[in-house]
Amino acid sequence: MDVIFRVRRFDGEKSYWSDFVIPAKKGMTVLEGLYYIKENYDGSLAFRASCRMGICGSCAVKINGRPVLACETQILHLNSTTIKIEPLDNFEVIKDLVTEFDGFFTKHEAVKPYLIRKEDRYSEPEELIQKPEQLYAYYKYSLCIKCGACYSVCPASSSRDDYLGPAAMTAAYRFIADSRDEGDGERMQIVCGDCGVWRCHFAAECSEVCPKKVEPAKAVQKLRFRSSIYMLKKFFIRW
């Protein structure tokens, strides 16, 4: 069955739409359609892709208005003869479907997404024991593939550039909730700030679009609660 891919193009100066006819077969994904365009119609079409199996997070694009992974979306499941493909919102477009991700990764790095221990005993390494219940407390939040879909639908991210975003705050919570981690104080400095949890008003769209069902909205609310306890304790203890 033939479908039309209406792709939003950008050449550095102007934005325009390009239409391509794709002979879609059962099981064919939107990513395969994009490769088909690149191989048969227009080699200048720019898009990001890598693993083509929903684990690297490279190919997140807006398909018919919703951000999804192109490699996980089957063309015929969309039930539409015209498939509109656009780059993710809230990111600066470099070319066609490729967007600037530097700011997104900077924010992720800012929350220190690695295990912090008070003492690093590399010469005498010890095993850090963790019970299954302790693992389940944060495991879901560790599945984030940094695709940027959550950030693209967050209303706070759309109007404020320095807002950390659901992905970074989920990463922060993933480590704060990890029983092996001892770096609460350092991470709280970032997420308790004006550009952190306080800009979230539970639009919860992030949880709706996450391809890995990481539930960032839940992580941010839990982080918010912890931040308020942390900040109030700091204030009253200093008093």
């Binding site: 018919n64 209303p155 539970f202 539930e215 609310q221 839990k222």
Partner: protein, 124 residues
């Protein structure tokens, strides 16, 4: 005009739409608050001024505005209660039923309040 994205509803779930409506009704209610506080000063200016205002606003012609205002108020309040629950980290797993309940409650309370206002202004 980036703030317009707060009110974008295309391709968004009911959760995001609820957020947009909450923000919109909040702004409407702040504007109404300022108007209401100024309107109340008419009480200090004596009977004639107060009754002049009520003769314009407590009439069937104004009922439509009152009904819309009450819709905004009831929605903001009921949705706000839902948000209070979720922002404390409670009830996240029940967010879908709670959302539908919120809309149902808004509709019921709004219809009841509008009916009461209708009776009031029609002098029944």
């Amino acid at each position: 005009m980036r703030w317009l994205k707060w009110f974008e509803f295309r391709g968004k779930s009911l959760f995001h739409i609820s957020y947009s409506l909450h923000r919109l009704t909040g702004i409407v209610l702040v504007i109404y608050l300022v108007m209401h506080l100024s309107y109340l000063t008419s009480i200090r200016m004596g009977r004639e001024v107060y009754e002049y205002f009520t003769s314009i606003t407590l009439t069937p012609a104004f009922l439509i505005f009152d009904i819309l205002l009450v819709l905004a108020g009831v929605y903001h309040g009921v949705n706000g209660l839902r948000l209070i629950l979720h922002e404390f980290g409670l009830g996240y797993e029940l967010r879908r039923p709670l959302l539908y309940l919120c809309y149902l409650l808004t509709l019921v309370l709004w219809l009841y309040a509008s009916y009461q206002m209708y009776l009031f202004v029609m002098g029944v």
